[in-house]
Symmetry: C2
Amino acid sequence: MTNGNLLAALPATRPPAEAFEVLVERAGWKVERIVSWGHVTAPGEWFDQTTDEFVALLSGAARLQVEGEPAPRELAPGDWVFLPARIRHRVEWTDEGKPTVWLAIHAVP
Amino acid sequence: MTNGNLLAALPATRPPAEAFEVLVERAGWKVERIVSWGHVTAPGEWFDQTTDEFVALLSGAARLQVEGEPAPRELAPGDWVFLPARIRHRVEWTDEGKPTVWLAIHAVP
């Protein structure tokens, strides 16, 4: 048994890079915490994953652009999105004043 | 693509029973929101699951008893626990003054 707190151990100041932490990995799925602080997907880049992802924003704020949608989705605490494999998406913006915490569940092939 | 908010559509008063809502179900895993409000595991009963579960408390408060541990774990917002299959556990208490929201990821055989 492992445990922790999704909102704990957050940086006090903006770190140079996003932080990715796998909390649990099992056959078929894994759970990851991501902490952003003003970080975005590099200009012109898209996530184009071969596996399904469920992602929830737990604190902070973000804008998620899904390819083909007219505008980014504004994400606030509690908001979740299911991103099937091959749905191209990018993070356009995350809060620059405080950490944004994501909880992601990824399918593992 | 589906989406929603984990903290939205909460009851204004205590409902008779816990609410279980499957948000996403894929081969090998599913994501479920559970809303408790003073609900607990029936006296003398234990959850004894054949599959692994990751559970996080997002709002409210709870006490989770794991078999063999000297005292229940006090869970606050952000707290998560990985419960491998066959770890017997029970919810001893949830906040009686407001909803307690859980996010659970279950392995699906």
